[in-house]
């Protein structure tokens, strides 16, 4: 195992100051019929080096939009209308597109949801990876070829299979190749968008194990987007629970799972099947998430909430610190005296 010294070059940073700080990020989409979809509103969280942050929520809650906004890869009808994205105290939103290209993939890279769709079907795997390296002018093609071998070895793909095409790979291997591609330029932050959703449990375990190993070796910060609460519990240090484009709850994984404050988090956890409690009836969350074009005036979860009080329908709750480094956006957490109702 020769890890390649350059991989470790940017490994260690001071852990206390966040590597990436997202503050009040707000994103709107203009739909073809002229309406505006409020995809993200005031989303804030911090990402630390060497740690894994989980972004959880139902489909359409803005998880992927958050990643795309940070990478500045939103589709043309999407606009960042407010907030800041601080990478080492530099606001990425102040950069021009040309300047941004120096950060994308070199500083932060992404593992896309469906590896089959993200990889080029008519290009060999090793060429795809070295293309990314050469494009960012890190080295010449001979050096790049050697680096591709190292990367493939790191993700557990035999060098000899580098000259094959994506369709010759199994689902798990494609995801490994995708991870190798994301590591091509030694990023400090890795965004993983549902990296294991389409995979079997055993292959899922293999991929999660791989991400963890790579993180330990390179000191990466990982942002893991998923709707699978089990996966988050297995690998994440901190968790952001999103609902309808806003942060519902944000805190350490331990507190989120064992002392959830927001009713949405509580219901989400109850609806997840737990092998340790067989025979228990699963609770589901009645109703559907709000339409982002037509948001309720108060709390976005109010129509589905089992603990709602009068104020919820009229006033949107702020994200407040309920205990040290644990935040929730719920009126019940805001004032303890109303919470006792």
């Amino acid at each position: 195992m020769s890890p390649g010294w350059w991989l470790c070059a940017r490994a260690s940073r001071v852990a206390d100051t966040p590597l990436l700080s997202i503050r009040n990020l707000t994103v709107d989409f203009v739909l073809p019929d002229g309406r505006t979809s409020h995809a993200l509103e005031e989303v804030s969280f911090d990402v630390h080096a060497g740690q894994t942050l989980g972004l959880v929520g139902e489909s359409g809650c803005g998880k992927t939009t958050t990643l795309m906004a940070v990478m500045r890869l939103l589709p043309s009808n999407g606009r960042i209308t407010g907030g800041r994205i601080l990478y080492h105290d530099l606001d990425l939103l102040s950069l021009t597109e040309r300047q941004m290209r120096a950060y994308r993939w070199k500083e932060m890279a992404m593992v896309f949801q469906s590896a089959m769709n993200a990889l080029n079907p008519v290009m060999r795997i090793d060429d795809q990876i070295s293309e990314a390296i050469v494009l960012h002018q890190l080295m010449n093609s001979a050096q790049a070829a050697r680096r591709v071998d190292t990367l493939l070895e790191m993700v557990g793909i035999a060098k000899e299979r580098g000259d094959q095409y994506p369709h010759q790979y199994s689902g798990g291997m494609r995801q490994r190749a995708m991870i190798a591609l994301s590591l091509a330029c030694s990023p400090s932050v890795l965004f993983a968008d549902e990296p294991t959703t389409a995979l079997d449990v055993m292959i899922q375990a293999q991929v999660l194990e791989l991400l963890k190993k790579i993180q330990e070796k390179l000191g990466l910060a990982i942002v893991l987007v998923t709707h699978d609460l089990g996966v988050v519990a297995e690998v994440c240090d901190t968790v952001v629970v999103m609902y309808g484009g806003k942060v519902a709850e944000y805190g350490s994984a331990d507190r989120i799972y064992n002392d959830p404050q927001h009713p949405y988090t509580q219901r989400l956890l109850e609806s997840f099947p737990d092998l340790n409690k067989p025979g228990e009836v699963l609770s589901s969350i009645p109703g559907t998430p709000p339409r982002l074009t037509d948001l309720p005036p108060g709390c976005r979860f109010e129509p589905r909430c089992h603990k709602r009080i009068d104020v919820c329908a009229v006033l949107a709750p702020r994200l407040i610190e309920t205990s040290a480094a644990h935040y929730a956006a719920c009126h019940l957490c805001e004032a303890p005296e109303t919470g006792s109702r």
Partner: protein, 364 residues
């Protein structure tokens, strides 16, 4: 007739399904041994009335092939399937045997041939399948009403208009699409993933079947919706006494309502037993590994996981001896040469592992 009521809804004995691999012409001339994909390789199980059994295993282990064979979408290579006591698939096999003089024609013993046979159409009135992906299994150009009513038309049931509307409405409301009339004229693209899967379930339930074959019905859905669909299936089973064969790769989702589990690996059931007992005391190393990687929704309960390396081998090339031995963390020398038999254990549990038989023999 009282005898019929006590008969298990489904009895599968030594089911085998091999797919021939397409071969070059030259190789055929040279009389090379024709390669076969042994998708299902000697599988037996029984499903009682009103029972839910989960068939668990990784992709490519043959779970879906079993379901497709049970419903007659594939023809078994050998073995017998009884639905409520009647042999299925055999009628078509005999018809084929008349045309082909090869040994496909030998179907069981004389005694078996004397038994009543069930045609596929009659079978499909009583057994229905729910497919994995509600985005692909619904006709995008048909309305919800037409989709749910189609099985009635195919089977020539409920010919009266009022009767048909009544049965479609009942099936849709049972599937949680309430009020049903709001959904009649909608198209699949107007529905969410959870609603689509409810339409699929309504389409299966409209014939009032006795058996549902559910092939990964929730793996494409969000967690909160997953729970709804699982609860819906559970209600159908409790209120209607429907038997369900639930196919999944995720042990976590079925632990809640399956009565029995069967764990498959590479075309064979390697362990089966009552759910709670099997989860508490898995005996086969593959079951143990599979259980250990099911994510637990609590960071305090993170545990050592047995992560098997590599992927399920190709079913065209099944390893000699125990088919699991190349990936088995506890394999011994004998595993390389000896195919383990099914070992019956206490409490209706079965495991096909030499190490299990070892322990049993020592205890005896």
């Amino acid at each position: 007739m009282s005898q019929v009521a006590q008969q298990p809804i489904l009895e599968v004995r030594h089911l085998v399904k091999h797919f021939p691999v397409r071969q070059a012409l030259l190789a055929a001339f040279q009389r090379k041994l024709r390669q076969r994909i042994r998708a299902v390789d000697d599988v037996s199980f029984t499903l009682e009335r009103g029972e839910v059994m989960a068939l668990v295993g990784e992709s490519g282990c043959g779970k879906t092939t079993i379901a497709r064979t049970l419903i007659g979408l594939e023809q078994q290579s050998s073995g017998e399937i009884r639905f409520s006591g009647e042999l299925i698939g055999a009628e078509e096999r005999r018809a084929r045997a008349g045309l082909l003089s090869v040994d496909v024609g030998r179907v069981g013993t004389r005694e078996q041939q004397m038994l009543p046979h069930m045609s596929l159409k009659r079978l499909r009135q009583r057994a229905q399948m729910i497919f994995q992906d509600p985005y692909e299994s619904l006709n995008p150009r048909a309305t919800v009403f037409d989709i749910v009513a189609e099985p009635l038309i195919v089977h020539g049931m409920a010919r009266e208009r009022e009767e048909r509307i009544r049965r479609v409405a009942a099936a849709m409301e049972d599937a949680g699409l309430r009020p049903a009339r709001d959904y009649y004229s909608r198209f699949p693209h107007e529905l969410s993933g959870g609603q689509r899967q409810r339409v699929v379930i309504a389409g299966a339930m409209v014939l009032e079947p006795e058996l549902l074959l559910a092939d990964e019905p929730v793996s494409m859905l969000d967690v909160s919706i997953r729970a709804e669909i699982l609860n819906l299936l559970n209600d159908l089973r409790r209120e209607r006494g429907i038997s369900i064969l639930f196919i999944t790769h995720d042990l976590g989702t079925v632990a809640h309502f399956a009565d029995k589990l069967a764990v498959m690996y590479l075309g064979r059931i390697v362990e089966r037993g009552p759910t709670e007992q099997l989860l508490r005391d898995p005996r086969h190393p593959y079951t143990k590994a599979l259980l250990s990687v099911v994510p637990v929704p609590n960071p305090r309960l993170r545990k050592a996981r047995v992560i098997l390396q590599g992927e399920t081998p190709n079913a065209a090339n099944i390893p000699a001896g125990c088919r699991f031995h190349p990936r088995c963390p506890v394999a011994i020398d004998r595993c390389r040469t000896e195919d383990p038999p099914e070992i019956a254990l206490a409490g209706d549990q079965m495991a096909a592992c030499l190490l299990v038989s070892h322990a049993q023999n020592q205890a005896a």
